[in-house]
């Protein structure tokens, strides 16, 4: 038994199941991060003192990381576009770059975190650090999740390309939507935590 509209779009909605599914999932993710941002606002407005982000956090490193993530979003689109143009070899290169850039982001974040811990800046120290570690930690879990899915499509999952290229392209597109969302969350996180 086959589930209809996994590969082809349903004519009257113009969408595949996966496309609707991923957008609904992203809607719930917006609510998750939205609640954390709202909590940030509530706690900050109620605080007697609140440090400026750049006095505690490393702005140049985070700027570098922002560029890394934006670049990875570009390579993600290129990977999908390569599949649309039927060029599987270029897809591999771009998808590999996307995963690799995610890795670079994590390495930079590792150095940022360990520097904080070495200088005694733990989440328990104050609520600024608490929300910083919670938000960036949760975001980092999303980066790892996105990388895992992309790595799956790079290696074992790419077998689907040979049997059902349309389905594989759809899946890469949906994984790309998630990756862009993760990028977008960082673009909100960066000014909120580091610059304001």
């Amino acid at each position: 038994m086959d589930i209809p509209y996994t590969v082809e779009a349903r004519p009257d909605t113009g969408l595949t199941n996966g496309k609707i599914g991923i957008w609904l999932f992203l809607a719930s993710e917006v609510m998750l991060f939205g609640a954390l941002f709202a909590s940030y606002i509530l706690i900050r407005t109620g605080a007697q003192t609140w440090p400026r982000g750049d006095t505690i956090l490393n702005v140049p490193l985070a700027t570098f990381n922002t560029i890394v993530l934006i670049t990875s979003s570009v390579t993600m689109v290129m990977a999908w576009a390569s599949l649309m143009r039927n060029r599987f070899g270029t897809f591999r290169i771009y998808m590999g770059a996307t995963v690799l850039l995610g890795g670079v982001f994590l390495v930079v974040k590792y150095f940022e975190y360990s520097h904080k811990f070495e200088t005694g800046l733990f989440p328990s120290k104050n609520n600024f650090l608490a929300i910083y570690f919670t938000l960036t930690g949760l975001h980092m879990l999303h980066v790892i999740g996105g990388m895992a899915v992309n790595a799956y499509f790079l290696f074992p999952g790419s077998k689907l390309w040979k049997t059902n290229p349309q389905w594989f392209t759809n899946r890469v597109e949906n994984s790309g939507l998630f990756w862009h969302f993760v990028d977008l969350v960082w673009i909100f996180l960066f000014p909120t935590l580091y610059l304001l």
Partner: protein, 586 residues
């Protein structure tokens, strides 16, 4: 059950072949078939309902006879909980918190959404399965893991969570280890709900049969559709809150801990600067929509059964659907009516009491439409219909007694009294749970090919109906006398509580006798699987698409791909050959 041999493909028996190919584990345990998953959800949910009910029966002992030793059972529970058979206050708190958590998150929602939603919704929209069958399986097992985690929390040092199902901070921040386990359990349950919600919405939009436009959906499908949106968008903020409380408890942060907090004469050493009310906002942002998650599927079930047994179209189907959607939207902006006592200011309170009064309008529209649907019908009083009809006044009592709680001024004397308990239990217990019983009796023939016994069903209904009212009606009086809901001895120490204390005994006996009346149901349920009266594919002579499938439906559901040719409730159409015209008939 017939052994599947060489049967022509396309026949109902073809499914058994597929089952045999998959083997026992893949077809009954790790199945991706929506019907198996629905039944797994339903049975697990029913077991948790029974377990949550047992916790409450223990609590009722100490409320009826405070300080008295519980014979036999008391000794089994051990010295750390009931030394000499007498209940410790900490144990009472543990029972209270876990009763709420289990009933809401592990009992009613899994049965209403996971069970009926999974089993009935794809059939009613003429789908072969859910849009994402593997995700569906993952959703059930995530729920199962959440349930196991919650059960294991009873075993950790200090016992399970004791801070109420609402887990208000800062109390829950400084509570024992059980609270941490509770939070991990909630993360599993939230994940399960999110996966389920994505699946339900996608399935409804994409996999519906040809000709089944949105305004031809049975009301049950609409109810599940709106419910899925509530789960999708309301649960993530609680997940965020659960993460923050975990950070507070495990990493020593102070999201919910204010500065200068003193506990048992000791100043806490945390950094402070947090906001305890933040938890309440995030919690109720989920938990008010959650109330509608509890009630909307119930309304859906009742609507199906009433239309079927009055042999009439539903009165005002379009306005019911409109009300349902409006109710879904409004449920996101009423949450702070749970927080009138927090001193949030009259401007905010006025806003939330206004939205609360507005949201009562669509609820009344739906309930009124259901009542008017009875008008002039030649009603068949079978067991599902008895429960469905009883739902109407019970939910009505629950809903109307909620209005004073939604008004800021009236809420002040009533807040946190037994009146609140009576109010929301009338909505959820004789309300939702009656609807769920109705659904079990109604769709049992679809799942098994056999009917449950009517005689046992009527005994179950009458006993439960009387006992429910004996349990909850006295609580209105106890609450109006001003007795707090959180006292482990039922308010024995307060002079003003003395005139109503005897009502606790009546209420407790009501609960214990009600437990006895569940025995016919449990027996009936298991006995009828093999020995119930055999029935055809459409025993209730109903119109919606699920009755086009064989009973029980095979893998892939339908023998002939169904199409919808008309609206869902074409009963007693003038000039028609019989008193129902199914959606699937040309």
């Amino acid at each position: 059950m017939s052994q599947a041999g060489a049967v022509a493909p396309g026949k109902a028996h073809g499914a058994h072949e597929a089952h045999h190919e998959l083997g026992f584990w893949r077809s009954y345990v790790f199945s991706t078939d929506h019907k198996v998953i629905g039944i797994q959800y339903a049975v697990t949910g029913l077991l948790f309902l029974l377990f949550g009910f047992s916790l409450m029966m223990l609590m009722r002992w100490n409320l009826a006879y405070p300080g008295a030793a519980l014979p036999m059972l008391g000794r089994i529970l051990g010295d750390s909980r009931m030394p000499g058979g007498t209940m410790l206050p900490e144990f009472y708190n543990e029972l209270g918190a876990m009763h709420g958590t289990i009933m809401v998150f592990l009992g009613v929602v899994p049965l209403a959404v996971g069970g009926f939603g999974n089993f009935v919704l794809p059939l009613q929209i003429g789908a072969p399965d859910m849009a994402f069958p593997k995700l569906n399986m993952l959703s059930y097992w995530s729920f199962f893991l959440g349930g196991v985690t919650m059960l294991l929390s009873f075993l950790v040092p200090g016992g399970g969570a004791q801070s109420g199902w609402t887990s208000y901070t800062p109390l829950s921040d400084i509570a024992g280890m059980g609270q941490t386990v509770w939070l991990f359990g909630m993360v599993f349950l939230i994940t399960s709900s999110l996966l389920g919600a994505v699946n339900f919405i996608t399935t409804t939009i994409q996999i519906r049969a040809k000709g089944l436009t949105f305004m031809r959906f049975p009301f049950f499908v609409w109810a599940q559709f709106v419910t899925a949106f509530l789960l999708l968008l309301a649960f993530p903020p609680l997940e965020a809150a659960a993460f923050m409380q975990l950070m507070d408890r495990l990493a020593g942060t102070s999201f919910f801990l204010p500065s200068g907090l003193v506990v048992s004469g000791q100043a806490l050493t945390n950094a402070g600067g947090g906001n305890p009310l933040l938890w309440q906002h995030l919690f109720w942002f989920l938990a008010h929509p959650e109330v509608y998650v509890l009630i909307l599927p119930a309304m859906g079930i009742v609507a199906e059964i009433i239309a079927n047994n009055t042999r009439k179209p539903l009165f005002g189907y379009r306005s019911m659907v409109g009300s349902l959607v409006f109710l879904g939207f409004m449920s996101f902006i009423v949450w702070a009516h749970h927080m009138f006592m927090t001193g949030m200011g009259t401007a905010m309170a006025t806003f939330f009491q206004t939205t609360t009064m507005i949201i009562s309008i669509p609820s009344v529209v739906i309930l009124t439409s259901l009542i008017i649907s009875l008008w002039g019908g030649s009603i068949r009083y079978n067991t599902p219909m008895l429960f469905a009809v009883a739902f109407l006044p019970m939910f009505g009592i629950g809903g109307l007694t909620g209005l004073p709680l939604g008004l800021n001024a009236a809420d002040i004397p009533l807040h946190d009294t037994y009146y609140v308990i009576a109010h929301f239990h009338y909505v959820v217990a004789p309300g939702t749970i009656f609807a769920l019983f109705a659904g079990v009796y109604y769709w049992f023939p679809k799942a098994t090919g056999r009917k449950m016994s009517e005689k046992l069903g009527v005994i179950h209904f009458i006993g439960s109906f009387i006992c429910m009212n004996v349990v909850f009606m006295p609580m209105f009086l106890i609450g109006l006398a001003g007795v707090s809901r959180r006292l482990f001895d039922g308010g024995q120490g307060y002079a003003f509580a003395q005139p109503v204390l005897h009502l606790n005994v009546i209420s407790s006996w009501g609960a214990w006798i009600m437990a006895l009346f569940q025995i016919p149901f449990i027996f009936n349920f298991f006995w009828s699987i093999r020995h119930g009266e055999k029935v055809g594919d459409n025993p209730w002579e109903a119109t919606t698409l699920e009755w086009a499938a064989p009973s029980p439906p095979p893998h892939g559901n339908f023998v002939v791909v169904p199409e919808a040719h008309r609206g869902p409730y074409e009963y007693s159409v003038p000039g028609a050959a019989k008193d129902f015209v199914p959606q699937y008939e040309v």
